[in-house]
């Protein structure tokens, strides 16, 4: 099982990039599955299921931060994807506060940023960018050449070894290199660990417990099927 985690600010074009990626994986006879983690509303799972007829799932994080939710449910979702006999699990998250990063060791981390969000964005977002393997820049046709160059320069300033892909995903431009890296990526290994150190805080993840799975955490937890429960004193 290969795990690909797509992160990025809301409306940056993650789903559009993912659709193009899934289309190409299917054309190569590969078997992708898809998980969407969002806070309150998402219908991308239904869109993708009806468009591509692949196993999809959505989880509302509700009271939890979506990246926190990702950490406590991801082991179960991987099991689900394996049951579906998928070869690839594509996770789309709506990481919000930009202090965490959702990427897991041995997974491929893809951050999607829109060129229209201003030249300073790469300096503002931290581990969601610096711990990613690939940075996809979308909506490149809308900004000046100069700003494209500055945007890219600042991404490399923040994340020196990241692969940058400029994409006009609506027209499927720039998607092939992403698919190539997805196919070349490693299989995940159990137990899974987060790539980065979470920030200082009061929840188990915020204080540095990187093990994936609700059984490794305490406080307010949940399962894949959305039952919140509490473990602890």
């Amino acid at each position: 099982m290969k795990l690909i985690i797509f992160a990025g600010p809301p409306t940056c074009g993650k789903t559009t990039v993912i659709k193009q990626v899934i289309r190409r994986l299917l054309n190569k006879g590969l078997k992708p599955s898809y998980l969407k983690i969002d806070v309150l509303f998402a219908d991308e799972d239904e869109q993708l299921r009806s468009e591509f007829n692949i196993p999809t799932k959505k989880i509302y994080s509700g009271e939890l931060c979506p990246d926190h939710c990702n950490v406590v449910v991801l082991d179960e979702v991987v099991e689900w994807a394996e049951e579906q006999q998928a070869e690839y699990l594509i996770v789309e998250t709506a990481g919000l506060c930009l202090r965490c990063s959702p990427y897991v060791e041995n997974s491929l981390g893809v951050v999607v940023l829109e060129a229209t969000s201003g030249m300073n964005l790469p300096r503002k977002i931290g581990p969601m960018l610096t711990l990613a393997d690939i940075c996809v820049i979308t909506k490149i046709d809308l900004v000046s050449q100069a700003e494209r160059e500055v945007f890219r320069y600042r991404i490399l300033e923040a994340a020196k070894t990241i692969s940058i892909v400029e994409s006009n995903a609506l027209y499927g431009i720039g998607i092939d290199p992403i698919v190539r890296d997805i196919i070349r990526s490693q299989d995940i290994e159990q137990p899974m660990f987060l790539k980065g150190n979470p920030p200082v805080g009061t929840c188990t993840i915020c204080v540095g417990k990187k093990e994936i799975g609700a059984k490794n955490h305490f406080g307010v937890l949940r399962t894949m099927e959305n039952e919140l429960f509490y473990v602890g004193e």
Binding site: A146, R148, R180
Partner: protein, 290 residues
């Protein structure tokens, strides 16, 4: 697994595009999947060419293919060669090394920095040795294209449509120094077209215009006619057409004159109108004799 991949790519790109002499566009298929009538065309340094055709005929798709160095991997199945060689499919560019600058109808500045600050950031990341001279040259170029001069202290977002387009072109030519510049319908932006073409001819670059403007088309070395997603025809500008371009220039100048008068609050009387038309006819016949 990604370590160092950036460095390698950058160096490769730098060497790869040090000397572009020629771009070749090899035709693919149109919207109806039949092969394009123009099998191929070549662009050499110093060329100015136009792509023409009705809206929706695939003009923008053609310049997108050029910008991407398509290698039978876009819906049109076209192939772009640089110095007779294809560009590797998975090749991705650092935009500061990318030999092509595309200025489209949608391209805009988003930054609200003052113009001078913005140009400084761009020329600094380009490793320019004399940043302030670079900024002055860029502003000077832009100000020859636009009616209202751009001031260094103006915020980028306050520039008018014409000022923005002028600065985009000037930045791509001077600071970006891109060898190939694609301009998608710049005539809609209210810039000085005659001046633009005159200025651009001084730079040894390839300029590709997507245009509905007959003057730009007739001042080009040749034009590609598009229809239904396919390149239908290639016309080299004949001497006859070059003469027509002169006549069109005079027509255009008269239009500009009227524009100036209307902007200045003058009224267009019969007298003024006739005077302009008579001037046009005499002048055109004179230039024909010459």
């Amino acid at each position: 697994m990604y370590t160092n991949s950036i460095d390698i790519t950058c160096n490769f790109a730098e060497n790869y595009f040090m000397d572009i002499n020629k771009i070749t566009v090899i035709g693919g298929i149109g919207k109806d999947k039949s092969p394009e009538k123009v099998e191929k065309f070549e662009l050499c340094m110093g060329n100015i060419i136009s792509i023409v055709g009705p809206t929706g005929c695939g003009k923008t798709t053609l310049i997108n293919d050029i910008e991407l160095f398509a290698n039978k991997n876009t819906p049109s199945m076209r192939t772009i060669l640089i110095n007779d060689e294809p560009v590797a499919e998975d090749f991705t560019f650092d935009p500061s090394k990318h030999p092509i600058a595309l200025i489209s109808q949608h391209t805009n500045f988003l930054s609200d920095l003052p113009v001078g600050e913005f140009l400084k950031i761009h020329s600094t990341i380009r490793g320019s040795e004399n940043v302030s001279a670079m900024i002055d040259e860029t502003l000077d170029f832009a100000n020859q294209l636009t009616g209202e001069a751009i001031i260094k202290e103006t915020a980028m977002t306050q520039l008018s449509g014409g000022q923005t387009r002028s600065l985009l072109i000037a930045d791509a030519v001077i600071i970006g120094n891109s060898p190939i510049i694609l301009l998608d319908e710049i005539e809609n932006a209210g810039i000085h077209r005659t001046k633009a073409l005159e200025l651009l001819k001084n730079y040894q670059k390839i300029f590709v215009f997507v245009t509905h403007d007959p003057r730009i088309a007739l001042l080009s070395d040749f034009r590609i006619i598009m229809k239904n997603g396919a390149m239908q025809k290639m016309i080299t500008t004949s001497d006859e057409e070059k003469m027509a371009a002169i006549g069109l220039k005079q027509l255009d100048d008269i239009m500009l004159d009227f524009r100036k008068m209307i902007r200045a609050g003058e009224e267009i009387t019969n007298d003024i109108f006739d005077k302009h038309i008579n001037y046009l006819v005499t002048n055109y016949q004179y230039s024909l004799k010459k």
